[in-house]
């Protein structure tokens, strides 16, 4: 991100040709290649998160569906549309820049910023809702949605299936002590609809739970709400990190737009020199693309379980 801002700046500080370049063409080519290489590394940056998502969703689809069913698909969809519109206006900004149309440029940039801000506003609304429902996976950052949920629990350690009665009793008593809930007072008391739905399906014969789920939701053969909640908590962790990083990129983008607005308003860009607009455009569109994937992955998948 930093390098991007940098990228734009150096046209601004000394408009026209940089000392190290032979001609404008070389300079623009360099800048655009540089921008694309930067986007490549951005893709790999988010790629790590998508890998984590892939691994855990493939292992615990039900818990993920449970979590995503609690997200509000309406807000998510609205945000998607908002971003798409902002992408359009961004593209038009470039379009007018190429025509050297200063006024339309300024207007389009303003529109883009407005939509970007709207997006962030909606995100705030969503995060607040998660906070109020006690779904922030960070210890101590949650409003206590229901006092019934104890922060301090009695929890027996896992008893190895092979252990003899004595050993079991000991390792039980040895471990069974009150401790601060490592689930970080993350509260999931919104039922387990998807799970029940799956159990229904299982009754009809065909196996529905993945192998990981068969061990991941149960302890000693019985359904263990703690473990189920852990998996949902992982979903929310991934949700917050992904959308959070995306929102961070949006904020950087807005800063970029503000600077772009200033320069465009001063009328520095012309049909011959509009590289900064184009580069900022690339960045903005990239952020849009990330969201295009985040929306179905986080909000939609698994919705059909309940409808």
């Amino acid at each position: 991100m930093a390098s991007h801002a940098e990228n734009g700046k150096f046209h601004y500080h000394e408009p026209g040709l940089q000392h190290q370049f032979e001609d404008m063409g070389q300079q623009e080519e360099s800048v655009s290649i540089g921008m694309w290489v930067f986007l490549v590394q951005e893709i790999m940056f988010f790629g790590g998160l998508f890998t984590a998502y892939l691994v855990f969703r493939s292992r615990f689809p039900l818990a993920f569906a449970e979590g995503s069913n609690h997200l509000d698909a309406f807000w998510g969809g609205l945000n998607t549309l908002v971003l798409i519109v902002s992408s359009l206006t961004m593209a038009l900004t470039v379009y007018y820049a190429q025509r050297g149309n200063r006024n339309m440029q300024v207007i389009m940039i303003l529109l883009t910023m407005a939509f970007g801000a709207t997006f962030l506003g909606v995100k705030v609304i969503e995060y607040t809702d998660k906070y109020n429902s006690g779904l922030i996976p960070v210890t101590g950052w949650n409003k206590r949605a229901n006092e019934a949920q104890p922060a301090v629990e009695e929890r027996a350690g896992a008893v190895m299936p092979w252990e003899t009665a004595v050993a079991a009793a000991e390792s039980g008593s040895e471990k069974k002590k009150p401790y601060i809930n490592p689930h970080g007072e993350f509260q999931w008391n919104y039922g387990r609809h998807v799970y029940d739905y799956a159990i229904e399906k299982e009754k009809s014969g065909k196996p529905y739970l993945t192998e990981s789920e068969r061990v991941g939701y149960f302890s000693n053969g019985v359904f263990d709400p703690n473990k189920y909640r852990d998996k949902i908590r992982i979903f929310y962790f991934i949700y917050f990190v992904m959308t959070g990083l995306h929102a961070l990129h949006m904020i950087v983008g807005l800063g970029l737009m503000a600077w772009l607005l200033f320069v465009a308003w001063r009328g520095d860009f012309s049909a011959l020199y509009y590289a900064p607009v184009e580069m900022s455009g690339l960045y903005w569109h990239f952020v849009d693309i990330v969201w295009i994937f985040l929306f179905p992955l986080l909000y939609l998948l698994g919705r059909h379980f309940l409808h």
């Binding site: 290489v37 590394q41 988010f46 984590a52 962790f237």
Partner: protein, 557 residues
């Protein structure tokens, strides 16, 4: 002698106008956009980190002199080897050759005035400084004891040291190498001088290009991984912590997805330097130019497919192990090709034994052993016995120190006259090269045996019967230490008392030797037009050999 000195002085003195004399204020350095000055600042910082890591290394060897953990108690020892690893890998090995030699030479070698994005180049230096400062601060606060691999769940849940601060430092530092790589890629694509086609590029540039690809594609992943680690550590979320549903193996996958290619980030530039040295000091076109060039790219690409060979016993599936082992064997081939080509290059050459060439020959031997022991660790049946033992330690020190550091020293000596315009003491140069070679082998060869005996890594205390070999190792380390300190002395001394080197002391054809040394701020008075192939020693490379001979004759009377 006076007169002759006079003659040399007027024929090849230090030019009045060069990048060093162009602005002397501190500001002119800190805000420079000149890739050469940035390279010099990198050189200084990187050397400091190297010394810091070296001090930790000597502490480790001293502790291992005796079986019990008596000199350092195990807690301290854990911190010491962790910080040795972190400083050396993230703050010395990865930036050293690209950021110092690459920064300085890449634009000159392709005949450009500067890197394509000079501000970003400066930015990367500052990012490196910030990341480094943060890490050093954390180390001073009390350090970190997770091992440089930060394996979970120890690093997330159990370690009560400064994991997050150090992690943040590495995270920031990562962007420095990303930006450097980005800059190199752009530069190589757009800034080549007229006539400098892709297949006229020096192999050093090819190697830097391959390295940059790895930096761009790999580094972001470690960044996000460390970020997840830090978040998990303070939020206790547990996507890496099995006790709350996570999976520690996932961390290892993400970590090694970068950290294995990172090994190639460290060694590829070294290979580039060696290609330069061998070819030039044999005064002969390199053997199989295309093959060396493409093997660099091949290594960069295949390097991304083999990370699982760090995880053979870590609980990854047998099938995955087989796949990774197979690809590991495949990736051995390009390195072998390079090795053979270098050897063949010396055939029918006219070999000049200056210090850099000694380093190059040392590299051939050490990297050969390093690479072959790599096969040991790629073959699954053997690696089950060898992982996490000193065999691994010895192997990667042979590749990293015997490969990268030796190449780095060779490169520094080779281009020192170009960087500073002055010649270091050839005599002391050769002595230190020898010492480094001998000391290194004495230090790390016994560790192969130790490893096969089963001495595990990261042990503060070990069984008595292994002491003899450890004593060898420590003894060698002291020799190695001396060998590594000497260059600091005589290179610094050469800055003041070294005799002017002249623009092209060895009459080499590369572009960097066709400008004055030290070069002017924009590298060339006139943009060069390249009409000769890489390593063109025949007469059509436009070098006046006879003039050089005459000058030599005068000076050596």
């Amino acid at each position: 002698m006076q007169t002759q000195d006079g003659i040399i002085a007027e024929q090849s003195g230090i030019p009045k106008q060069n990048y060093l004399t162009n602005g002397t204020t501190l500001k002119s350095w800190l805000l420079t956009k000149d890739h050469k000055r940035i390279a010099i600042m990198y050189l200084i910082t990187v050397s400091l980190f190297f010394m810091a890591g070296g001090i930790y290394a000597s502490a480790i060897r001293l502790e291992l002199l005796t079986p019990p953990s008596d000199l350092l108690e195990s807690g301290t020892y854990n911190k010491v080897f962790t910080q040795h690893g972190i400083l050396m890998i993230f703050f010395f090995l990865i930036p050293s050759i690209p950021a110092v030699l690459g920064n300085f030479l890449l634009p000159i070698m392709i005949g450009a005035k500067d890197l394509a994005l000079p501000r970003i180049n400066l930015l990367s230096l500052y990012i490196y400084w910030i990341g480094g400062a943060l890490t050093v601060w954390a180390l001073l606060q009390g350090g970190v004891d997770t091992g440089w691999t930060f394996y979970t769940p120890y690093s997330t849940t159990f370690s009560n040291t400064y994991v997050m601060a150090v992690g943040l430092g590495i995270f920031i530092n990562g962007f420095s190498s990303i930006l450097t790589g980005l800059n190199f890629i752009v530069t190589v694509h757009t800034m080549r001088a007229p006539g400098m086609t892709w297949f006229r590029l020096p192999l050093f540039v090819w190697a830097q290009y391959a390295t940059s690809l790895v930096m761009i594609l790999g580094t972001p992943v470690i960044a996000i991984t460390i970020l997840l680690l830090a978040i998990e550590r303070f939020a206790q979320v547990g996507i890496f912590d099995p006790s709350i549903g996570g999976d520690p193996i996932l961390f290892q996958h993400l970590f090694w997805f970068y950290s294995h290619p990172a090994v190639y980030i460290m060694i590829l530039p070294g290979m580039g330097v060696i290609s330069e040295l061998i070819s030039n000091f044999s005064r002969k076109k390199i053997f199989g130019y295309e093959f060396i060039a493409f093997s660099s790219i091949a290594i960069a690409v295949f390097g991304f497919l083999v990370w699982g060979h760090h995880m053979f016993v870590s609980g990854q599936s047998i099938y995955a192990g087989l796949v990774f082992s197979f690809l590991t064997m495949v990736v051995a081939v390009p390195s072998a090709i390079k090795m053979f080509n270098w050897t063949a290059t010396m055939y029918k050459g006219s070999i000049l034994f200056e210090t850099p060439m000694l380093y190059a020959i040392g590299f051939l031997g050490l990297f050969l052993i390093g690479g072959l022991t790599g096969l040991f660790l790629g073959s699954m049946g053997l690696v089950v016995h060898l992982t996490d033992t000193y065999f691994v330690v010895a192997h990667f020190h042979y590749v990293m120190v015997g490969g990268q550091v030796i190449a780095y020293l060779g490169g520094i000596h080779y281009w020192w006259p170009k960087m500073t315009g002055r010649m270091y003491s050839e005599f002391w140069g050769k002595i230190s090269a020898m010492l480094v070679f001998i000391g290194f082998n004495l230090t790390f060869f016994p560790q192969f045996i130790l490893g096969y005996l089963g001495m595990p890594r990261r042990y503060a205390s070990y069984p008595e019967e292994m002491q003899v070999l450890n004593i060898f190792s420590t003894a060698g380390a002291s020799v190695l230490g001396v060998g590594l300190i000497m260059p600091v002395v005589y290179l610094t001394q050469s800055l003041i008392a070294g005799k002017p080197a002249g623009d092209n002391p060895w009459m080499f054809p590369g572009l960097e030797w066709r400008t004055s040394s030290p070069p002017p701020t924009e590298n060339f008075e006139v943009t060069p037009v390249v009409t000769w192939e890489a390593y063109e020693f025949s007469d059509e490379n436009g070098l006046d050999i006879d003039e050089a001979r005459r000058r030599q004759a005068v000076t050596t009377v």
